[in-house]
């Protein structure tokens, strides 16, 4: 069971959270065209490896937190608040051991 380090509540069981998908997609400005909004809603990278994603701490502090998690090994590299800028280990240069 994933142990997710919520920036506010500390490490908590996955069962306190609700997964909410890819956190790398940015909502376009309201005046963006239909194609841009289509990609925001439907285009997902779905990587086999490191993935920056949303976990909503529904049973805890109710924050949407960002988690960098590996979809193959389930390791978690880092977590951050709703506005945090997190990068994947394989993009930080040098992979984590």
């Amino acid at each position: 069971m994933h142990q997710i380090d919520c920036p506010w509540c500390g490490t908590r069981d996955e069962a306190e959270f609700q997964y909410q998908g890819d956190a790398t997609v940015q909502r376009p400005k309201p005046d963006a065209d239909e194609e841009t909004f289509f990609r925001y809603v439907y285009a997902r990278e779905n990587p086999k490896g490191w993935h920056v994603e949303w976990w909503h701490h529904v049973a805890g502090c109710r924050q949407w937190i960002k988690v960098v998690r590996n979809t193959l090994t389930h390791e978690i590299d880092s977590t951050g608040g709703p506005q945090s800028k997190l990068t994947k280990p394989d993009e930080k240069g040098g992979t984590k051991s």
């Binding site: 239909e34 289509f38 529904v58 709703p82």
Partner: protein, 993 residues
């Protein structure tokens, strides 16, 4: 001494002063407290305990632990019947009653043993090649027979009366297994001050050490074990839990264990669960799970009385039960000699010891010195006997035949497979070590390390040191390096020589690899011959390792035989994937408290008791219970609903609406925030006003609807549907935290801060005016339609909204939760002389259908605002969530199904939701279906059955026309007239009165 095979020496786990009576297959026996069913049966000279799955060959127990493939019994009876319980793990209690399984009529005379005659045709996978003709025979004939003969025990058919419990544990160091290595690790980690949990599957610690031959610090091993347990018990930071199987190693060092709290009792004690499922979160893990002895693969090696040598030793030392009086030990490694020494000490005759290895090892020389006959370079060829072994035919490793020896028990040891089940659940691939002929763990991926036999270390002294070091390393990794770990203790040196690989003793007969699923060496060759060369293919084709023991004693033999068939070394074949649980776990244990009425918590409104007093029938609404209707004595369901909905429009009705989602919203940008969530505009809504709103998902479909009121410049109060309350709150938290963090908006759920009632009908205002007295003026001038006021009422802060879901003159009144009953009673009393009645969710639905208001059935996650006739609410002046995706061609296609009303004309007594609408009753198919009916009711206001529906072409194409509600499920196809969904008071005059 109870039992013909009871010996006076050993029996560390039994209490010879406490006799226990039990029955097996109706025959009664006596054993001692501390016996298992298997040990007590063996002590009473019973070796025939089961029948194998496919050939129904007679079987006795092979092992003394949870990896037992053969001695599988039905324990207890009635609602507590437990199929497939291992006799080797069932602790004896007075009155224990067990039945053998998978045989008819009895264990001794099993008709299906005829399969042994058919065995030449019943090889692996035969069923894939036959039973195909005639095809109509499959379900009624072939499959019925196969299913009847398949499966082992019979499950109970009534609800499990026992309860199960969950519990959570946390520690710095979790040690799995209380053998020598595990105890040693727990001691060193415990002494360092770290929080340690030690779990052990068996009822007692000590693992596979032999009291007869193993000495630590000069004392017999069991004294060292007792001393270790005392020291651990004295440490407050250490918890030792026996009868607890660590069965699952999940992500992030979270592990799951099953504690058998009451299985050793006839029934659990008061307030105690049968079993407790532990979720353990460990900083570091020390795996000390030991190893599994392998069987030798020779003809008839499945004969009752042929057992693993470690098991024979365990039965004598733990339970004082000798599996036989004349024992032959067949071994390919030094451990066999330990069994010989232990039995010799207990006075059991060792008729012969055969060692596959040509040269006598030091252990062999010791045995010879002790007077036992050792034959080197000799291996078993064939076991003889019928329901019990009577002799063993031997052969020399050079193939020439050796003598036949009379015996009643064969203790065989084909080497030990380190138990890598848990470590491979972490993703570590087991690695083959030729020197010990076993798979051992590769470098750890998680925060764990292995110690002792599960790592391939079998010498006692090495186990002590390795366990001790593992405990220190684990504690240090958790920051407890400074404590004094004390000394590990030393064991006498043992000179161990390498085992000799012996995967198949030559022979023509049936040599078993997987005992329970009857997989023989020939089956593995056939699998290879037919192309199933991958180890995963061979497993699935032969079912090797797919029985209840999951191949613990058979997988490595199977892999070795497959390697020989492929002509490749064992490492190239590899292992199949280990999966939790380590050993089978009751389904009830996973459910824990969540069953029966506690499957999910019940959420009750503040006025639940008021509903009960009025005889309400309640219905589930998500986790809530809501009054569905209030039947008068002798009144049927439909009559009650009809009366309630009719009466509301005549006089007045009161309805508990507390379950609606309620959200308090504050902040200067709250209005702008609502603008971006809802499709309609909110900035211009004045304080004291309410407005209906519709929310979309980002993909353009309707998500939820409800009314939101403005109580002050920077204070709004939103209501959502009961079903979507939690999702709307999460949606808003995403919007405010992620999308628009710069907006000044703050909100929280108030669903249970405010309870609420709707009071609707012509007399509504009179009733409330009487109830409120001069607390507030609810005249139309002071409180116009969609108006909102907050006021004080008998000490409670109250809010009143001129909102109408029923289409009547209506008010919703909210008060804090704990004032709910008082408010209901005040309004109820005031309403008695105004014809006030209580109405439930059914009547509420009738009223809103008559008005054409959409609800849950219409918001099915696939409909757009335009589909519901609310397209014009979509503001073009401001952006909102879902706006862009709602504009896609397919979402605005005129051919989409749109909301209409339907009136029953003829052809059935009622309308039904889920009927499809077709133009021609006789051409009703998927292509001619124009849409479907979502909600229906018997409408007092319209005097007939009416409903809402989505139809392609909508009103523009079908208004006033007749369509047919095709309903093959109910075999009816009534004619319906299409009309506007706003059946009653379409202009809403009654709202504004």
């Amino acid at each position: 001494m109870t039992g013909v095979n009871r010996v006076s020496v050993g029996g560390s786990r039994i209490d010879r002063s406490k006799e226990v009576r039990f029955t097996f297959d109706g025959q009664s026996y006596t054993g001692f407290e501390g016996d298992t069913l298997a040990s007590a049966l063996l002590a009473n000279g019973v070796t025939l305990m089961g029948r194998s799955f496919k050939y129904h060959r007679p079987r006795g127990c092979l092992t003394a632990g949870s990896e037992e493939p053969n001695a599988i019994v039905e324990l207890r009876s009635g609602a507590r019947r437990e199929p497939n319980t291992r006799a080797t793990m069932a602790e004896l209690y007075n009155g224990l009653d067990a039945q053998s399984q998978n045989r008819f009529p009895s264990l001794k005379f099993d008709i299906q043993a005829i399969n042994q005659l058919l065995s030449p045709f019943l090889t692996a996978g035969f069923y894939y090649k036959t039973f195909m003709w005639p095809s109509s025979f499959w379900e009624p004939v072939y499959e019925k027979f196969i299913r009847k003969s398949a499966g082992l025990g019979k499950a109970a058919t009534q609800a499990d009366p026992d309860t199960y419990e969950h519990s959570h544990g946390h520690c710095d160091v979790l040690v799995v297994g209380a053998g020598i290595a595990g105890l040693s690790a727990a001691l060193s980690a415990g002494r360092s001050g770290a929080r340690v949990i030690l779990v052990e599957e068996q009822v007692a610690a000590g693992g596979m050490t032999s009291t007869a031959t193993d000495f630590i610090d000069g004392k017999p091993s069991d004294e060292w074990v007792a001393q270790a347990l005392d020291e651990l018990a004295g440490m407050a930071n250490v918890t030792v839990r026996t009868r607890t199987t660590l069965f699952g190693y999940y992500d992030h060092n979270v592990l799951a264990a099953l504690e058998r709290v009451s299985d050793h009792l006839e029934v659990p004690e008061a307030h105690q669960p049968r079993q407790r499922l532990w979720t353990l979160r460990a900083g570091q893990v020390v795996l000390a799970c030991g190893s599994h002895e392998r069987a030798m693969v020779f003809d008839n090696n499945d004969m009752p009385g042929v057992m693993l040598s470690g098991a024979v030793r365990a039965f004598v030392e733990r339970y004082g039960a000798a599996p036989g009086k004349r024992v032959v030990v067949c071994t390919n490694n030094d451990d066999g000699y330990k069994t010989a020494a232990s039995l010799h000490k207990a006075g059991v005759e060792i008729v012969a010891i055969t060692d596959a290895r040509a040269e006598p090892s030091p252990a062999a020389k010791l045995a010879t010195a002790a007077g036992m006959k050792v034959q080197c370079g000799v291996i078993p060829h064939k076991a003889k006997g019928r329901h019990r072994v009577s002799a063993i035919a031997l052969q020399r490793t050079d193939g020439s035949s050796a003598e036949i020896i009379e015996c009643d028990c064969v203790a065989m040891s084909n080497g030990y497979s380190p138990d890598v089940h848990l470590v491979s659940q972490t993703g570590v691939a087991p690695v083959w070590r030729e020197d010990i002929l076993g798979f051992v763990p590769d470098t750890p991926i998680r925060k764990e390390r292995s110690a002792g036999a599960c790592k391939g270390t079998f010498e006692l002294n090495a186990c002590l040191q390795e366990g001790h070091q593992a405990g220190c390393d684990a504690a240090e990794a958790m920051g407890f390096g400074s404590g004094d770990p004390g000394s590990a203790g030393t064991a006498d040196e043992e000179e161990i020589t390498a085992p000799l690989a012996l995967w198949r003793c030559p022979g023509k007969g049936k040599a078993f690899v997987d005992f329970q699923n009857d997989v023989t060496a020939k089956d593995i060759q056939l699998a290879h011959q037919e192309g199933f060369v991958s180890v995963e293919h061979a497993k699935r084709y032969t079912t090797l390792g797919m029985a209840t023991d999951q191949g613990k004693t058979s997988n490595v033999n199977g892999i070795a035989l497959l390697a020989e068939a492929r002509g490749e070394p064992i490492p190239d074949v590899g292992t199949t994937r280990f999966r939790p649980p380590y050993s089978p776990v009751a389904i009830g244990a996973f459910a824990g408290h969540e069953r029966g009425m506690e499957f999910q918590p019940v959420r009750r409104t503040a006025m639940h008791a008021c509903g009960e007093k009025l005889g309400a029938v309640f219905v589930e609404a998500g986790q809530w219970l809501r009054p569905q209707y209030y039947p008068k004595p002798g009144e049927g369901v439909m009559e009650a609903i009809y009366r309630e909905s009719e009466q509301v429009r005549k006089t007045a009705g009161i309805c508990d609406v507390s379950t609606l989602g309620k959200i308090e919203i504050f902040g200067e940008d709250a209005g702008e925030f609502l603008n971006r969530l809802y499709i309609n505009g909110w900035k211009m809504l004045a304080p004291g006003k309410a407005r209906y709103g519709l929310m979309l998902r980002e993909d353009g479909y309707v998500f939820d609807d409800g009314t939101t009121s403005r109580l002050a410049d920077d204070h709004y109060f939103m209501t959502t549907t009961t079903a979507n309350a939690a999702r709307v709150l999460a949606h808003m938290e995403h919007a405010s935290q992620v999308l628009w963090p710069d907006l000044d908006v703050h909100f929280c759920s108030a669903t249970e801060q405010w309870c609420g009632v709707a009071v609707a009908g012509p007399n509504a205002r009179a009733i409330l005016a009487k109830a409120f007295g001069d607390a507030i003026d609810i005249s139309n001038e002071e409180l116009p339609f969609m108006g909102v006021r907050e006021f004080k009422w008998n000490g409670a802060t109250a809010r009143i909204f001129r909102i109408s879901f029923s289409g009547e003159l209506a008010f919703e009144v909210n008060v804090p939760w704990s004032y709910g009953e008082a408010m209901w009673d005040a309004i109820w009393d005031a309403g008695q002389d105004h014809g006030l009645i209580a109405y439930g969710t059914e009547a509420l639905s009738v009223l809103r259908i008559e008005k054409g208001h959409v609800a849950g059935n219409e918001l099915d996650g696939r409909t757009t605002a335009a589909d519901m006739g609310l397209g014009k609410m979509m503001s073009s002046k401001k952006p909102f969530i879902g706006q862009k995706m709602a504009a896609r061609d397919g979402m605005i296609d005129p051919q989409r199904a749109t909301l209409v009303g339907v009136k029953l004309k003829s052809g059935a007594s009622r309308l039904r939701g889920g009927a499809h609408l077709v133009a021609d009753k006789n051409i009703a198919n998927a292509e001619t279906s124009l849409g479907w009916i979502t909600s229906v009711c018997d409408s007092p206001a319209m005097g007939c059955w009416i409903g809402l529906a989505y139809v392609r072409g909508g009103l523009s194409e079908h208004d006033g026309k007749i369509l047919y509600a095709a309903n093959p499920i109910y075999e009816e196809s009534p004619a319906v007239e299409i009309c506007s969904p706003h059946f009653f008071d379409p202009k809403g005059e009654r709202l504004h009165g």
